[in-house]
């Protein structure tokens, strides 16, 4: 048998130096005895605290994490390859399932890329409806993060509370599109159909009670001693290192850099709304938590403004070569019937070109790269997923901290394995 000491993890352990960590020991006030043996364990892929099937190969010295290697690919679905086989409008359903908590953002990035290639104008009403749904999705995604993140750190009550609110948001989605998740509501050129009567009232009712609910969450966690001790001053990564690592989203904003694509490079009518971007100071886990809570409040404001200013008009582009004609026209107009037939069987053709469009998803910059070659199917669809790039920061956040803080870092990183693995 081969020498057991030559097994790769032993080599990795041997390569990690046991020098005293610069700075203080991770547990304040405790003198760390240097351990002479390191333990390599496998965190995942089936583990209560990893958000999905993430496998982390941790090398521990006592309770301190010395090295972390994420191994991914356990839910790799080949979505990008599958999209090459589908027409453009069919690929929307595939692309939605990548980052499965922020499905509207995936769909929007892809639709926007295809609209850029088609040079298609989206009507104003569709833009506002898209913004409303995206911001409601941001609230739902942050609620789920809050529930599961707090669950990881130990505040189990948050799970029930956050899911209660999230159910209400999903009810709104179900009312507007028929599905709770993965709604296929965004189409190339606009949205699938107009919102039903009574939807606006329900959204306003939800928005009226949401700020008080966020107050309740904050009252539970913000000044909780255990929460503060777990999240303050843990997982700090300096800003330039984050930028080098390509991290965007609440993690970058918590570290102090006010970069938000909705404000910096506005898209889809965001320039019409008045909202703030929460920015942290230190960049520890507590800042990340506060940034996301404040983002929920800002999203509520955006949805209110969008509802107040919702313009009348078509909800999808009137270009029949791209968007399906309304059903009532099929009975009277021959051209509508032909367009419907061609769109459903073959799909619309996109002239050759390639483009990259980025949006601000709840986790960071979500980019979509589409290459078209003139046929009805895309040549390449690639999503630059924020969780995938943010995962590289986990190593820097976690190394040198104890396991408990490392789990808190993982919770505050908010990885979504569907987006990471695609």
């Amino acid at each position: 048998m081969s020498d057991p000491l030559k097994v790769p993890y032993r080599e990795r352990e041997a390569s990690i130096s046991l020098e005293a960590m610069d700075g203080e020991s991770p547990i304040a006030g405790v003198e760390l005895e240097p351990e002479s043996e390191m333990l390599t364990i496998n965190l995942g892929p089936h583990h209560p605290a990893t958000h999905g099937v993430l496998r982390l190969l941790c090398t521990l010295e006592g309770e301190t994490v010395r090295s972390v290697e994420p191994i991914i690919g356990y839910v790799h679905t080949g979505i990008e390859k599958s999209c090459e086989d589908q027409e453009y409008w069919k690929a929307i359903t595939f692309v939605e399932r990548m980052d499965y908590l922020a499905y509207y953002f995936n769909a929007y990035a892809y639709c926007s890329a295809v609209e850029t290639l088609l040079e298609e104008e989206v009507p104003a009403r569709a833009q506002y409806l898209r913004v409303i749904h995206m911001e409601l999705n941001r609230i739902a995604s942050h609620l789920f993060w809050l529930g599961t993140g707090a669950l990881d750190i130990g505040a189990i009550t948050m799970l029930w509370w956050a899911l209660r609110e999230r159910d209400e948001v999903l009810d709104l989605f179900e009312m507007s599109s028929g599905q709770r998740l993965h709604t296929r509501y965004f189409q190339v050129g606009g949205v699938f159909e107009d919102i039903p009567p009574g939807w606006e009232t329900k959204v306003r009712a939800f928005l009226a009670e949401m700020p008080s609910r966020i107050d309740q969450y904050e009252a539970l966690l913000d000044e909780n001693e255990i929460w503060l001790r777990r999240t303050k001053n843990t997982g700090i990564v300096p800003v330039d290192q984050l930028i080098g690592l390509g991290v965007t989203g609440p993690l970058l904003r918590a570290a102090g850099k006010p970069w938000d694509l909705r404000k910096a490079m506005p898209y889809c009518g965001y320039e019409h709304f008045d909202f703030k971007i929460p920015v942290g100071t230190v960049g520890d886990n507590y800042d990340r938590y506060r940034v996301r809570m404040a983002e929920m409040r800002e999203s509520v404001k955006i949805v209110e403004q969008a509802l107040d200013g919702l313009p009348e008009g078509p909800y999808i582009t009137p270009n029949r070569k791209v968007a399906l004609p309304p059903r009532h026209e099929l009975a009277t107009s021959m051209e509508a019937l032909i367009h419907h037939f061609k769109l459903v069987t073959e799909g619309f053709r996109v002239p050759p070109g390639e483009t990259y469009v980025a949006v601000e998803s709840p986790r960071g910059e979500l980019g979509c790269f589409v290459v078209a070659d003139g046929s009805a199917k895309p040549v390449r669809v690639h999503m630059r997923d924020p969780s995938f790039v943010n995962l590289q920061a986990l190593r820097h956040m976690g190394e040198g901290s104890v396991i408990a803080d490392f789990i808190a870092c993982l919770a505050m990183l908010d990885p979504i394995l569907g987006g990471i693995d695609r």
């Binding site: 892929p45 790799h76 529930g147 799970l159 159910d167």
Partner: protein
């Protein structure tokens, strides 16, 4: 050809009982004393089985296992105040497969994850059930490509399939209720024979032994089953 119809004497229940006992008698060469003992034991065991399966169905412990988007709906079923699984008894979510009963495969099964799921399934103790939740776990869903195993039933015996993409929480609860029905009405869980799914090799035994389990039960009803005997 002349066909005459006559009514079989006796009620429907009597006829059914006679049919069942005939089937059981044909199962082995039991007669006389052995047969009486066998029938008595079956009656007793069947009542005990019923009570046992009633207890089992009302206290299912799901394994906390989520793969992809269906896991979000599964967490909603388990955790949301509106759709709450604990009212059906499945409140305790255990993350260790050694302590869990029910594996809810929620999400797409990729080729990298499949052996791991099989290992987790093998680590679960009998009796265990599997619900394949969602379209991706039942078939490949809409992803017919290189990266997925087309359905978990390619390497796991599945009890209940819940369709949907993702299925609504109510749909998943309906699936769990159907599983509860399955546990009570079918204590033998005959699918195991159909799928040759006796469990891990060291405890499952091979097929000829299983067909003889009636004889083994009759011969040694009170001995503890050794590691080679099938568990039921």
């Amino acid at each position: 050809m002349e066909v005459t119809r006559t009514k079989v004497p006796g009620s429907k229940e009597e006829f059914r009982a006679k049919q069942l006992s005939a089937q059981q008698m044909l199962r082995g060469d039991l007669d006389g004393q052995d047969l009486d003992e066998y029938v008595e034991k079956r009656l007793l065991l069947s009542k005990l089985n019923e009570a046992q399966s009633w207890a089992r169905k009302n206290a299912i412990w799901p394994l906390g296992f989520g793969l992809a988007c269906c896991a979000i709906e599964m967490i909603t079923v388990i955790g949301s105040p509106r759709n709450d699984l604990s009212r059906f008894g499945a409140e305790v979510i255990r993350f260790s497969p050694r302590q869990a009963d029910l594996l809810i495969l929620s999400g797409r099964v990729s080729i990298k994850m499949a052996p791991i799921i099989r290992r987790i399934y093998d680590q679960m103790l009998e009796p265990k059930w599997v619900i394949s939740m969602g379209a991706c776990a039942s078939s490949a869903g809409m992803f017919n490509n290189y990266a997925l195993v087309a359905g978990a039933d390619k390497f796991l015996p599945v009890d209940v399939y819940v369709p949907g993409c993702p299925p609504r929480p109510e749909a998943l609860m309906y699936g769990i209720l159907k599983l509860q029905d399955k546990i009570t009405k079918d204590p033998e869980l005959g699918w195991r024979e159909r799928y040759h799914a006796g469990g891990t090799e060291e405890f499952g035994g091979s097929e000829p032994e299983r067909e003889d389990h009636a004889r083994q039960d009759a011969e040694s009803p009170s001995q503890d089953a050794g590691p080679d005997a099938p568990r039921r």
